[in-house]
Amino acid sequence: MKKATLSRRSFLKLVGGAAAAGATVGAMPVAAKKVGEHFEPYVVPPEEALPGKATWYATTCRMCAAGCGIMVRTINGRAKKIEGNPSYPLNDGKTCARGQAGLQALYNPDRLRNAVKQNGRESRIFEPLHWETALSSLMDKIEAADPANIIFFGGVMADNLYYVTSRWLEAIGAPPPLQYDLHAALEGRATSAKAAKKLFGTMQQPIYDIANADVIFSFGANFVETWMSPVSYSRAYSKFRGQTGGRGYLVQFEPRMSATAATADQWVPIRPGMDGLVALALGKILGGGSFSGMYHNIDIKEIAHASGIELDTLKKMARILANADHPVVVPGGTPAGHSNGYDSYLAIHSLNLILNQLGREGGVYISPNSPAEALEAAPMPNSFADVEALIERMNGGEVEILFVHGANPVFELPQAAAFKEALANVPYIVSFSSFVDETAVQSDLILPDNTYLESWGYQVASSGGDRPAVASQQPIVERMYDTRSTTEVIMALAKEMGGAAAKALPWESEILFMEDMSGSIYGSSLTPYTTKTGKEFWAAFRQHGGWWANKKLSAEPEAVGFKNSPLPVAAPNFDGRAREYPLFLHPYPSVSLSDGRGANLPWLQEAPDPMTTAAWNTWVEMNPQTAHKYGVHDNDVVKIISPNGEIEARVVVYPGIRPDVVAIPVGQGHEDYGRYAQKRGSNPMDLVGTITDPKTGALAWASARVRIERTGRKEKLARLESLHGHGKEELT
């Protein structure tokens, strides 16, 4: 007998039809059912909140060191969307992808929700602590320690935090905060500041007026992606392209084609470390004017040969510079990544001098002075040599307490520097990280800071813009968890300690500190808004998102450090012999993950790299010639080996790179740092050695030579672009 059956297919058909019938009959009144949702109206509604209507608050972005002005849309006390503050002159109402992703730091499921102590370093077993307990145990440690052996390791610190921390450390007799992070190293901040000190007599960051230039020669300044203030420079760049009388001419010198090089009129794939020499050759061809002595012994043929740029090309480029009305030459991140970085900076800046573009429209300015003495920008970051000195002190048992804020040195520093190993000699390590990152895992106590959307602060614009400006930061939402602002923690410690420390930080609260600091600009004639009283100014300062001069006001650099004598540019040093390690390694900051700090935000993980369209992992870019030579293809997993270590990465065959260079984005390869970051990709800093520029102590992060070995494995890399159609999408 045939069994009565209902195939899966007809079952689905039946159900589908019946559901459709049900939907039609649904018009009939039926019994009330639960929507299954609750309203939870406020217990006490905030005065300004109107349920269902958005409220926008102005504050400062902290996703990188630039400090753009942002506006955050909130509904019912929840931050919903970040946009640029249209009034703030640095970013002119714009933000970048990283700025947009700030919400995911606030709502991140891996955030620490209270102070914790770790039961044994690297145990990853954390015990929640009451803040009072945490702070009193910290106080005991501080009181027992020699103040000279208390070190505060910050990334590039927020200005308000630097102010408070440095005053506290000074009062207790500890050294000033050490500011170092990988992003700053990759963009050459320390080298730039030291070159500015020598040439212009100031540690202020030079600002390049690319908006009004007609020709830009950029030596590795990837200003549309990651360099300094990419939003500010991208805005200026759009003006450069949109000006009347031509669209400008951009030449980009770098071994790997970045997004800036891709948008340039000419990309010059220069041999790594040759930036300074090429600048000298250009200067020699230009003649040098009254500074011809700088180019006395330059042999341009030799430089053409060494840099991989043909003599004719060099001459043509010099002609472009000579014919320009407002050319500007920009030293960026790449030249600073070599042992001759400082020399290169001097040589590159000298071109601006001989082109007479210092302090002229479309030329070089100095970051505008702070609007008030009290509101000064934090000093330029320290160099890698300072970190090495710290490592030495740690190994010598001369560091008793190490505070770490806003940096993740265990992840960011080259493995070869052995920072992690040195931490074993520090008896007490305190992290202020909001997340359990690689450095927090080495710490004893974690006092999580609020995320920036829950914090107070201010930031003097120092890496772009055409006028003095200071962005104000205020909490957009109430603290989500039991975290505490580090500024407040330090103020509390100072108060507890009494004496000089308490005197150095006399404010009752962080808010009063902010009010006091911003009040120092009150009464300035340059104010963009008028206020009648100090209180009113304080309200306006927060409401507008800061203060900025109401007119363009650029500081002109004084050319105090140029001499009419030969400029020496040493040949760059590399780690590893060419025969054994035939390729140069070019690590570069990821446009989304930066130096790795963005890796815990899924929006940034999934944002594809603009040049390769790859995401979610680490890849190594190889020229098609090189890939052919090694017999590797897209998605092949290869070993990249340097004298300092080895990592694995998937191959991206990329025509925009010199055949003797391989490029790897920085940012992945986290062991810790939350579910989105960890166990994903590899960290190219494991390949980098500790070669420094002897003149500045900056890390020569592009000085590693590598070789490639096949593993025979293939692992598909997530890429937006189809690889089947050779760049053309196929619709199937």
Binding site: V30, Y42, K53
Partner: protein, 176 residues
């Protein structure tokens, strides 16, 4: 005979499926109905309206926001720290207040996510609350409207003044 029997089984199955599906489909297509019997506080609209209160006193955002708003506990307690303090439900509200906790009201009416509905233009144009919400003033617990679907909206939009009616028929008015 045997053949007939074999056919009957799927027909019965089909019938069962159809009836179940009709009920399930009907249940889920009702976007507007909500619970009325299980609110955390046994609140009576009738008592408050009878006492002379206006809808907008509590749902004060209806004229200035997309959402009408459910009053804060502070607003309840503003009156009830002195009025009807011996009532058990008022005491419950006081308890929420003392514990600094919101009252988890059960939602009564809801539009699906793809509908952009705003109270503001409806209230501003002078539409009375009961036109859409029924005679809430006569209800103890708010009962859901049985049907707040597109045809129902359009029935009313259609009857508006000829200057504005065509605009109110535009899909984009509600489906942004």
């Amino acid at each position: 005979m045997a053949q007939v029997k074999r056919r009957k089984v799927p027909f019965i199955l089909l019938a069962v499926f159809l009836v179940t599906a009709v009920l399930v489909g009907g249940y889920y297509s009702q976007q507007s109905a909500g619970a009325s019997e299980s609110q955390p506080v046994d609140y009576s609209h009738k008592v408050h309206i009878d006492a002379g209160m206006e809808c907008l006193y509590c749902h004060s955002n209806a004229g200035r926001s997309p959402v009408a708003g459910v009053p804060s506990v502070q607003k309840c307690i503003g009156c009830h720290q002195t009025i009807a303090t011996d009532n058990a439900d008022v005491q419950l509200v006081t308890e929420y207040w003392n514990n600094n906790e919101p009252i988890p009201w059960e939602r009564v009416n809801k539009q699906p996510d793809f509908v952009y509905f705003s109270h503001q233009p409806h209230v501003i144009s002078g539409l009375a609350c009961e036109e859409c919400h029924g005679d809430i003033g006569e209800m103890d617990l708010a009962a859901p409207m049985e049907k707040m679907d597109m045809g129902w909206c359009l029935d009313c939009h259609e009857q508006q003044h000829e200057d504005i009616a065509p605009h109110l028929w535009d899909c984009l008015v509600c489906h942004k």
